[in-house]
Amino acid sequence: MDENVNFQEKAASAIPHFSINYRFNVNLIPTSWSNCLFDLSVSICFQVFGDQKFDVGCFHDLNMILVFIVMPGNSFEMSYKIAQIRLVSSHPEVYEPCDDSFALVDALLSDRNNLLELKPMLCMEVGCGSGYVITSLMLMLGEEANGAQFIATDINHHAIRVTQETMEAHGVYAELINTDVASGLENRLAGSVDLLVVNPPYVPTPEDEVGREGIASAWAGGENGRSVIDKILPVAEKLLSKRGWLYMVTLTANNPSQICRQMMKKGYASKIVVQRSTVEESLHIIKFWKDNDIEADTNDAITNSKAVPLGIVDSVRLQMQRLSFWGSSDINTTTN
Protein backbone atom coordinates (compact mmCIF):
# COMPACT_ATOMS: atom_id res chain seq x y z
CA MET A 1 0.00 0.00 0.00
CA ASP A 2 2.81 2.41 0.92
CA GLU A 3 4.43 1.71 -2.39
CA ASN A 4 1.26 2.70 -4.11
CA VAL A 5 0.96 5.95 -2.24
CA ASN A 6 4.54 6.64 -3.19
CA PHE A 7 3.69 6.17 -6.82
CA GLN A 8 0.76 8.48 -6.64
CA GLU A 9 2.90 11.15 -5.09
CA LYS A 10 5.61 10.66 -7.65
CA ALA A 11 3.08 10.87 -10.41
CA ALA A 12 1.48 13.95 -8.95
CA SER A 13 4.77 15.78 -8.75
CA ALA A 14 6.05 14.60 -12.10
CA ILE A 15 3.02 15.39 -14.13
CA PRO A 16 1.71 18.90 -13.62
CA HIS A 17 -1.70 18.15 -15.01
CA PHE A 18 -2.26 14.97 -13.11
CA SER A 19 -5.67 15.13 -11.68
CA ILE A 20 -6.65 13.88 -8.29
CA ASN A 21 -9.81 12.65 -9.90
CA TYR A 22 -7.86 9.67 -11.20
CA ARG A 23 -7.03 7.32 -8.42
CA PHE A 24 -4.86 4.41 -9.22
CA ASN A 25 -2.76 1.73 -7.64
CA VAL A 26 0.22 0.52 -9.52
CA ASN A 27 2.34 -2.49 -8.82
CA LEU A 28 5.14 -3.08 -11.21
CA ILE A 29 7.58 -5.88 -10.98
CA PRO A 30 9.96 -5.94 -13.88
CA THR A 31 11.50 -9.34 -14.31
CA SER A 32 13.94 -10.01 -17.10
CA TRP A 33 15.48 -6.83 -18.40
CA SER A 34 17.29 -6.61 -21.67
CA ASN A 35 17.67 -4.25 -24.52
CA CYS A 36 15.41 -6.24 -26.75
CA LEU A 37 12.70 -7.23 -24.40
CA PHE A 38 11.61 -6.81 -20.88
CA ASP A 39 8.77 -8.64 -19.33
CA LEU A 40 6.64 -6.86 -16.85
CA SER A 41 4.21 -8.08 -14.34
CA VAL A 42 1.68 -5.33 -13.99
CA SER A 43 -1.27 -5.02 -11.79
CA ILE A 44 -3.31 -1.93 -12.33
CA CYS A 45 -6.46 -1.05 -10.59
CA PHE A 46 -8.05 2.28 -10.85
CA GLN A 47 -11.31 4.00 -11.02
CA VAL A 48 -12.07 6.69 -13.43
CA PHE A 49 -14.45 9.41 -12.65
CA GLY A 50 -16.46 10.90 -15.39
CA ASP A 51 -16.27 10.36 -19.10
CA GLN A 52 -13.00 12.09 -19.64
CA LYS A 53 -10.54 10.54 -22.01
CA PHE A 54 -6.96 10.20 -21.03
CA ASP A 55 -3.74 8.73 -22.25
CA VAL A 56 -1.46 6.50 -20.30
CA GLY A 57 2.24 6.95 -20.49
CA CYS A 58 5.19 5.86 -18.49
CA PHE A 59 8.80 6.39 -17.70
CA HIS A 60 11.20 4.28 -15.78
CA ASP A 61 13.08 5.15 -12.70
CA LEU A 62 15.85 2.66 -11.91
CA ASN A 63 14.04 -0.60 -11.44
CA MET A 64 10.55 0.70 -11.18
CA ILE A 65 8.31 1.80 -13.92
CA LEU A 66 5.98 4.62 -13.23
CA VAL A 67 2.68 4.63 -14.93
CA PHE A 68 0.99 7.95 -15.13
CA ILE A 69 -2.15 9.31 -16.57
CA VAL A 70 -2.07 12.43 -18.60
CA MET A 71 -5.07 14.66 -18.95
CA PRO A 72 -6.33 15.55 -22.40
CA GLY A 73 -4.41 18.42 -23.86
CA ASN A 74 -1.20 16.92 -22.70
CA SER A 75 -1.65 13.49 -24.16
CA PHE A 76 1.10 11.66 -25.96
CA GLU A 77 0.44 11.71 -29.65
CA MET A 78 0.52 8.15 -30.81
CA SER A 79 1.63 8.26 -34.39
CA TYR A 80 0.16 4.86 -35.01
CA LYS A 81 -2.82 2.89 -33.88
CA ILE A 82 -3.05 -0.76 -33.07
CA ALA A 83 -5.71 -2.98 -31.58
CA GLN A 84 -6.58 -2.35 -27.96
CA ILE A 85 -6.54 -5.36 -25.71
CA ARG A 86 -9.63 -4.18 -23.90
CA LEU A 87 -11.54 -4.31 -27.20
CA VAL A 88 -10.23 -7.73 -28.23
CA SER A 89 -12.88 -10.39 -27.89
CA SER A 90 -12.19 -13.79 -26.39
CA HIS A 91 -13.36 -17.38 -26.15
CA PRO A 92 -11.96 -20.31 -24.18
CA GLU A 93 -11.02 -22.12 -27.41
CA VAL A 94 -9.26 -19.15 -28.98
CA TYR A 95 -5.64 -18.09 -28.53
CA GLU A 96 -5.40 -14.77 -26.72
CA PRO A 97 -2.90 -12.16 -27.86
CA CYS A 98 0.47 -12.94 -26.34
CA ASP A 99 4.14 -12.09 -26.73
CA ASP A 100 4.27 -13.58 -30.21
CA SER A 101 1.24 -11.56 -31.35
CA PHE A 102 2.77 -8.39 -29.94
CA ALA A 103 6.11 -9.14 -31.55
CA LEU A 104 4.46 -9.61 -34.93
CA VAL A 105 2.56 -6.34 -34.59
CA ASP A 106 5.77 -4.60 -33.50
CA ALA A 107 7.49 -5.98 -36.59
CA LEU A 108 4.75 -4.56 -38.79
CA LEU A 109 4.84 -1.25 -36.95
CA SER A 110 8.58 -0.93 -37.35
CA ASP A 111 8.08 -1.49 -41.07
CA ARG A 112 5.05 0.74 -41.38
CA ASN A 113 6.62 3.28 -43.71
CA ASN A 114 7.76 0.52 -46.03
CA LEU A 115 4.32 -1.05 -45.91
CA LEU A 116 2.71 2.21 -46.95
CA GLU A 117 5.21 2.59 -49.75
CA LEU A 118 4.40 -0.95 -50.89
CA LYS A 119 0.77 0.10 -51.34
CA PRO A 120 -0.56 -3.41 -50.83
CA MET A 121 -3.86 -4.06 -52.53
CA LEU A 122 -4.74 -7.36 -50.89
CA CYS A 123 -3.52 -8.18 -47.39
CA MET A 124 -4.07 -11.48 -45.68
CA GLU A 125 -3.60 -13.17 -42.35
CA VAL A 126 -3.54 -16.94 -42.02
CA GLY A 127 -4.64 -17.99 -38.56
CA CYS A 128 -6.25 -14.82 -37.23
CA GLY A 129 -7.06 -16.18 -33.74
CA SER A 130 -8.43 -13.34 -31.65
CA GLY A 131 -8.12 -10.90 -34.55
CA TYR A 132 -5.50 -8.86 -32.72
CA VAL A 133 -2.95 -8.88 -35.53
CA ILE A 134 -5.24 -8.30 -38.53
CA THR A 135 -7.07 -5.55 -36.63
CA SER A 136 -3.77 -3.90 -35.69
CA LEU A 137 -2.61 -4.12 -39.28
CA MET A 138 -5.76 -2.45 -40.55
CA LEU A 139 -5.54 0.28 -37.93
CA MET A 140 -1.88 1.01 -38.45
CA LEU A 141 -2.29 1.41 -42.20
CA GLY A 142 -5.51 3.29 -41.65
CA GLU A 143 -6.62 5.83 -44.18
CA GLU A 144 -3.26 5.68 -45.89
CA ALA A 145 -3.97 2.10 -46.98
CA ASN A 146 -5.58 3.51 -50.11
CA GLY A 147 -8.50 1.15 -50.28
CA ALA A 148 -6.55 -2.03 -49.51
CA GLN A 149 -8.73 -5.03 -48.76
CA PHE A 150 -8.05 -7.50 -45.98
CA ILE A 151 -8.74 -11.20 -45.72
CA ALA A 152 -8.24 -13.48 -42.74
CA THR A 153 -8.62 -17.20 -42.31
CA ASP A 154 -8.68 -19.57 -39.38
CA ILE A 155 -9.35 -23.28 -39.08
CA ASN A 156 -11.12 -22.70 -35.76
CA HIS A 157 -14.65 -21.32 -36.18
CA HIS A 158 -14.58 -19.83 -32.68
CA ALA A 159 -11.54 -17.83 -33.70
CA ILE A 160 -13.36 -16.55 -36.76
CA ARG A 161 -16.25 -15.45 -34.58
CA VAL A 162 -13.91 -13.78 -32.05
CA THR A 163 -12.02 -12.01 -34.85
CA GLN A 164 -15.30 -10.72 -36.21
CA GLU A 165 -16.17 -9.28 -32.79
CA THR A 166 -12.72 -7.78 -32.32
CA MET A 167 -12.85 -6.07 -35.69
CA GLU A 168 -16.32 -4.74 -35.06
CA ALA A 169 -15.22 -3.32 -31.71
CA HIS A 170 -12.45 -1.43 -33.50
CA GLY A 171 -14.61 -0.29 -36.41
CA VAL A 172 -12.66 -2.16 -39.08
CA TYR A 173 -13.64 -4.86 -41.53
CA ALA A 174 -11.85 -7.79 -43.12
CA GLU A 175 -13.26 -10.67 -45.08
CA LEU A 176 -13.25 -13.82 -42.96
CA ILE A 177 -13.15 -17.40 -44.15
CA ASN A 178 -13.28 -20.49 -41.98
CA THR A 179 -10.79 -22.72 -43.70
CA ASP A 180 -7.51 -24.65 -43.37
CA VAL A 181 -4.70 -22.19 -44.22
CA ALA A 182 -6.04 -20.86 -47.55
CA SER A 183 -7.92 -23.86 -48.88
CA GLY A 184 -10.50 -22.69 -51.40
CA LEU A 185 -8.69 -19.40 -52.01
CA GLU A 186 -5.36 -20.63 -53.34
CA ASN A 187 -6.30 -20.99 -56.97
CA ARG A 188 -8.02 -17.66 -57.53
CA LEU A 189 -5.76 -15.65 -55.20
CA ALA A 190 -2.52 -17.08 -56.61
CA GLY A 191 0.01 -14.33 -57.16
CA SER A 192 -2.36 -11.72 -55.79
CA VAL A 193 -1.55 -11.26 -52.12
CA ASP A 194 0.76 -8.30 -51.49
CA LEU A 195 1.05 -8.73 -47.76
CA LEU A 196 0.74 -11.98 -45.84
CA VAL A 197 1.13 -12.28 -42.09
CA VAL A 198 1.24 -15.52 -40.17
CA ASN A 199 1.64 -16.42 -36.52
CA PRO A 200 1.61 -20.18 -36.98
CA PRO A 201 1.34 -22.98 -34.44
CA TYR A 202 5.09 -23.22 -33.84
CA VAL A 203 5.43 -25.08 -30.56
CA PRO A 204 7.21 -28.43 -30.80
CA THR A 205 4.69 -31.09 -29.80
CA PRO A 206 4.03 -34.75 -30.54
CA GLU A 207 2.80 -35.15 -34.12
CA ASP A 208 -0.58 -36.46 -33.10
CA GLU A 209 -1.38 -33.17 -31.38
CA VAL A 210 -1.24 -31.27 -34.64
CA GLY A 211 -4.53 -30.26 -36.25
CA ARG A 212 -6.66 -31.30 -33.30
CA GLU A 213 -9.86 -29.38 -32.81
CA GLY A 214 -9.93 -26.54 -30.36
CA ILE A 215 -7.34 -24.22 -28.94
CA ALA A 216 -4.42 -26.67 -29.26
CA SER A 217 -4.48 -26.05 -32.99
CA ALA A 218 -3.20 -22.59 -32.15
CA TRP A 219 0.17 -23.84 -30.93
CA ALA A 220 0.69 -27.53 -31.74
CA GLY A 221 3.45 -27.63 -34.33
CA GLY A 222 4.62 -31.25 -34.28
CA GLU A 223 8.28 -32.13 -34.68
CA ASN A 224 10.45 -29.04 -34.15
CA GLY A 225 7.21 -27.11 -34.35
CA ARG A 226 7.47 -27.23 -38.14
CA SER A 227 4.45 -29.30 -39.23
CA VAL A 228 2.10 -26.44 -39.91
CA ILE A 229 4.83 -23.97 -40.91
CA ASP A 230 6.00 -26.39 -43.62
CA LYS A 231 2.40 -26.70 -44.79
CA ILE A 232 1.94 -22.92 -44.91
CA LEU A 233 5.13 -21.92 -46.71
CA PRO A 234 4.30 -23.44 -50.13
CA VAL A 235 0.84 -21.91 -49.91
CA ALA A 236 2.40 -18.55 -49.10
CA GLU A 237 4.66 -18.83 -52.14
CA LYS A 238 1.64 -19.50 -54.31
CA LEU A 239 -0.40 -16.63 -52.90
CA LEU A 240 2.25 -13.93 -52.83
CA SER A 241 2.42 -11.46 -55.67
CA LYS A 242 5.79 -10.65 -57.26
CA ARG A 243 6.15 -7.69 -54.91
CA GLY A 244 4.48 -9.46 -52.00
CA TRP A 245 5.89 -9.68 -48.49
CA LEU A 246 5.45 -12.42 -45.89
CA TYR A 247 5.91 -11.87 -42.16
CA MET A 248 6.05 -15.01 -40.07
CA VAL A 249 6.61 -15.76 -36.40
CA THR A 250 9.07 -18.53 -35.59
CA LEU A 251 10.89 -19.95 -32.58
CA THR A 252 14.57 -20.86 -32.47
CA ALA A 253 13.35 -24.45 -32.19
CA ASN A 254 11.83 -24.14 -35.68
CA ASN A 255 15.31 -23.60 -37.10
CA PRO A 256 14.61 -20.23 -38.72
CA SER A 257 17.95 -20.17 -40.59
CA GLN A 258 17.00 -23.39 -42.31
CA ILE A 259 13.59 -21.92 -43.20
CA CYS A 260 15.35 -18.91 -44.68
CA ARG A 261 17.69 -21.13 -46.71
CA GLN A 262 14.70 -23.11 -47.95
CA MET A 263 12.95 -19.92 -49.02
CA MET A 264 16.11 -18.58 -50.59
CA LYS A 265 16.11 -21.57 -52.94
CA LYS A 266 12.65 -20.44 -54.02
CA GLY A 267 13.97 -16.93 -54.69
CA TYR A 268 13.03 -15.22 -51.44
CA ALA A 269 15.28 -12.92 -49.48
CA SER A 270 14.69 -12.79 -45.76
CA LYS A 271 15.42 -10.71 -42.72
CA ILE A 272 14.73 -11.14 -39.04
CA VAL A 273 12.88 -7.92 -38.29
CA VAL A 274 12.16 -8.49 -34.61
CA GLN A 275 13.73 -10.83 -32.12
CA ARG A 276 12.43 -11.30 -28.61
CA SER A 277 14.23 -13.48 -26.10
CA THR A 278 13.23 -15.01 -22.84
CA VAL A 279 15.32 -17.32 -20.71
CA GLU A 280 13.90 -20.37 -22.45
CA GLU A 281 13.27 -19.41 -26.05
CA SER A 282 13.58 -16.78 -28.71
CA LEU A 283 10.92 -15.50 -31.05
CA HIS A 284 12.06 -14.47 -34.50
CA ILE A 285 9.77 -12.51 -36.74
CA ILE A 286 11.01 -13.11 -40.26
CA LYS A 287 10.17 -11.05 -43.29
CA PHE A 288 10.37 -12.71 -46.72
CA TRP A 289 10.24 -10.99 -50.09
CA LYS A 290 10.91 -12.07 -53.65
CA ASP A 291 14.35 -11.09 -54.83
CA ASN A 292 15.47 -12.06 -58.31
CA ASP A 293 19.12 -11.65 -57.39
CA ILE A 294 19.03 -14.28 -54.67
CA GLU A 295 21.48 -17.05 -55.46
CA ALA A 296 20.20 -20.53 -54.69
CA ASP A 297 23.44 -21.26 -52.91
CA THR A 298 23.11 -22.63 -49.42
CA ASN A 299 26.65 -21.63 -48.58
CA ASP A 300 25.82 -17.98 -48.85
CA ALA A 301 25.05 -16.16 -45.65
CA ILE A 302 21.39 -15.33 -45.32
CA THR A 303 20.43 -11.71 -45.20
CA ASN A 304 19.93 -11.53 -41.50
CA SER A 305 20.08 -8.41 -39.48
CA LYS A 306 18.65 -7.84 -36.06
CA ALA A 307 16.23 -5.01 -35.96
CA VAL A 308 17.09 -2.00 -33.86
CA PRO A 309 15.33 -2.80 -30.64
CA LEU A 310 12.60 -0.44 -29.56
CA GLY A 311 13.72 1.96 -26.90
CA ILE A 312 12.61 1.05 -23.43
CA VAL A 313 10.02 3.76 -23.07
CA ASP A 314 8.49 3.01 -26.47
CA SER A 315 8.47 -0.66 -25.67
CA VAL A 316 6.74 -0.14 -22.38
CA ARG A 317 4.34 2.24 -24.03
CA LEU A 318 3.37 -0.49 -26.45
CA GLN A 319 2.99 -2.96 -23.60
CA MET A 320 0.90 -0.51 -21.64
CA GLN A 321 -1.44 0.04 -24.51
CA ARG A 322 -2.19 -3.61 -24.50
CA LEU A 323 -3.49 -3.71 -20.98
CA SER A 324 -7.10 -3.32 -20.29
CA PHE A 325 -7.69 -0.43 -17.96
CA TRP A 326 -11.40 -0.44 -17.57
CA GLY A 327 -13.26 -1.91 -14.70
CA SER A 328 -12.23 -2.44 -11.16
CA SER A 329 -10.73 -5.90 -11.49
CA ASP A 330 -7.01 -6.43 -11.28
CA ILE A 331 -5.33 -7.08 -14.57
CA ASN A 332 -2.33 -9.35 -14.39
CA THR A 333 0.09 -10.10 -17.15
CA THR A 334 2.22 -12.90 -15.93
CA THR A 335 5.77 -13.30 -16.95
CA ASN A 336 8.65 -15.57 -16.18
Binding site: G147, E175, T179, S183, G184, R188
Partner: protein, 124 residues
Protein backbone atom coordinates in the same frame (compact mmCIF):
# COMPACT_ATOMS: atom_id res chain seq x y z
CA UNK B 1 -19.16 -12.65 -47.65
CA UNK B 2 -18.82 -10.06 -50.39
CA UNK B 3 -18.65 -10.70 -54.08
CA UNK B 4 -14.94 -9.86 -54.13
CA UNK B 5 -14.39 -12.87 -51.91
CA UNK B 6 -16.85 -15.04 -53.83
CA UNK B 7 -14.82 -14.28 -56.93
CA UNK B 8 -11.72 -15.61 -55.17
CA UNK B 9 -13.27 -18.81 -53.83
CA UNK B 10 -13.30 -22.13 -55.60
CA UNK B 11 -14.22 -25.64 -54.57
CA UNK B 12 -11.29 -27.29 -52.81
CA UNK B 13 -12.70 -30.82 -52.85
CA UNK B 14 -10.22 -33.46 -53.94
CA UNK B 15 -10.57 -34.47 -57.55
CA UNK B 16 -12.71 -31.53 -58.59
CA UNK B 17 -11.32 -29.97 -61.76
CA UNK B 18 -13.88 -27.29 -62.36
CA UNK B 19 -14.57 -25.77 -58.98
CA UNK B 20 -15.16 -22.17 -60.02
CA UNK B 21 -17.36 -20.29 -59.64
CA UNK B 22 -19.29 -21.53 -56.64
CA UNK B 23 -23.02 -21.24 -57.07
CA UNK B 24 -24.62 -18.88 -54.58
CA UNK B 25 -27.67 -19.92 -52.59
CA UNK B 26 -29.13 -16.80 -51.02
CA UNK B 27 -30.97 -16.75 -47.73
CA UNK B 28 -30.13 -13.28 -46.53
CA UNK B 29 -28.35 -10.39 -48.20
CA UNK B 30 -27.26 -7.30 -46.28
CA UNK B 31 -25.98 -4.04 -47.72
CA UNK B 32 -23.19 -2.33 -45.82
CA UNK B 33 -21.85 0.94 -47.12
CA UNK B 34 -18.14 1.41 -47.35
CA UNK B 35 -16.02 4.23 -48.72
CA UNK B 36 -15.24 3.94 -52.41
CA UNK B 37 -11.67 3.89 -53.67
CA UNK B 38 -11.25 4.23 -57.42
CA UNK B 39 -7.63 3.08 -57.38
CA UNK B 40 -8.54 -0.17 -55.73
CA UNK B 41 -11.34 -0.81 -58.20
CA UNK B 42 -9.08 -0.20 -61.17
CA UNK B 43 -6.33 -2.39 -59.70
CA UNK B 44 -8.57 -5.30 -58.79
CA UNK B 45 -10.55 -5.28 -62.03
CA UNK B 46 -8.05 -7.39 -64.03
CA UNK B 47 -8.26 -10.12 -61.39
CA UNK B 48 -12.03 -10.33 -61.41
CA UNK B 49 -13.67 -13.08 -63.41
CA UNK B 50 -16.35 -10.85 -64.84
CA UNK B 51 -18.92 -13.45 -65.83
CA UNK B 52 -18.84 -15.06 -62.38
CA UNK B 53 -19.08 -11.63 -60.79
CA UNK B 54 -21.97 -10.28 -62.84
CA UNK B 55 -23.92 -13.54 -62.48
CA UNK B 56 -23.32 -13.53 -58.74
CA UNK B 57 -24.45 -9.94 -58.36
CA UNK B 58 -27.69 -10.76 -60.12
CA UNK B 59 -28.19 -13.71 -57.77
CA UNK B 60 -27.73 -11.29 -54.89
CA UNK B 61 -30.48 -9.09 -56.29
CA UNK B 62 -28.41 -6.38 -57.99
CA UNK B 63 -28.94 -6.10 -61.74
CA UNK B 64 -26.68 -3.20 -62.65
CA UNK B 65 -23.60 -5.13 -63.67
CA UNK B 66 -23.41 -5.75 -67.41
CA UNK B 67 -22.90 -9.29 -68.64
CA UNK B 68 -19.96 -8.22 -70.76
CA UNK B 69 -16.92 -6.82 -68.94
CA UNK B 70 -16.53 -3.07 -69.38
CA UNK B 71 -13.73 -1.57 -71.42
CA UNK B 72 -10.83 -0.33 -69.25
CA UNK B 73 -11.61 3.20 -70.41
CA UNK B 74 -14.97 2.96 -68.68
CA UNK B 75 -13.15 2.33 -65.42
CA UNK B 76 -10.92 5.30 -66.02
CA UNK B 77 -13.62 7.86 -66.63
CA UNK B 78 -17.13 6.63 -65.83
CA UNK B 79 -17.63 7.56 -62.19
CA UNK B 80 -21.22 6.35 -62.20
CA UNK B 81 -20.14 2.92 -63.33
CA UNK B 82 -17.36 2.81 -60.74
CA UNK B 83 -19.95 3.51 -58.06
CA UNK B 84 -22.08 0.60 -59.19
CA UNK B 85 -19.06 -1.70 -59.53
CA UNK B 86 -18.01 -0.72 -56.02
CA UNK B 87 -21.48 -1.39 -54.70
CA UNK B 88 -21.71 -4.85 -56.22
CA UNK B 89 -18.16 -5.86 -55.34
CA UNK B 90 -17.81 -4.52 -51.81
CA UNK B 91 -21.17 -3.50 -50.38
CA UNK B 92 -23.36 -6.55 -50.91
CA UNK B 93 -22.93 -9.18 -48.20
CA UNK B 94 -24.25 -12.69 -48.25
CA UNK B 95 -25.06 -13.01 -44.56
CA UNK B 96 -26.81 -16.36 -44.66
CA UNK B 97 -26.84 -18.93 -47.41
CA UNK B 98 -24.50 -21.37 -49.03
CA UNK B 99 -21.94 -21.79 -51.77
CA UNK B 100 -22.28 -24.86 -53.97
CA UNK B 101 -19.52 -26.74 -55.69
CA UNK B 102 -20.38 -26.55 -59.41
CA UNK B 103 -19.16 -30.10 -59.97
CA UNK B 104 -20.40 -32.04 -56.95
CA UNK B 105 -23.15 -29.79 -55.61
CA UNK B 106 -21.60 -29.97 -52.13
CA UNK B 107 -22.75 -27.12 -49.94
CA UNK B 108 -20.34 -24.81 -48.17
CA UNK B 109 -22.47 -22.96 -45.63
CA UNK B 110 -22.30 -19.20 -45.15
CA UNK B 111 -23.31 -18.03 -41.68
CA UNK B 112 -23.09 -14.48 -40.32
CA UNK B 113 -21.33 -13.59 -43.51
CA UNK B 114 -18.60 -16.18 -43.08
CA UNK B 115 -18.15 -19.05 -45.54
CA UNK B 116 -17.08 -22.38 -44.10
CA UNK B 117 -14.72 -24.06 -46.52
CA UNK B 118 -13.55 -26.77 -44.14
CA UNK B 119 -13.50 -30.16 -45.81
CA UNK B 120 -14.41 -33.54 -44.39
CA UNK B 121 -11.68 -36.18 -44.18
CA UNK B 122 -12.72 -37.95 -47.35
CA UNK B 123 -12.84 -34.72 -49.35
CA UNK B 124 -9.25 -33.70 -48.72
Amino acid sequence: MRLLTHNMLSSNIKGVTNGFPLKIQVEKVVEKQVEINHDFLRNIFPKIDWKAFSDASRTMGYDEMPEEPPEPSVLESNVEFLGKFHHALLELHLEEGALLCPETGRKFPVNKGIPNMLLLEDEV
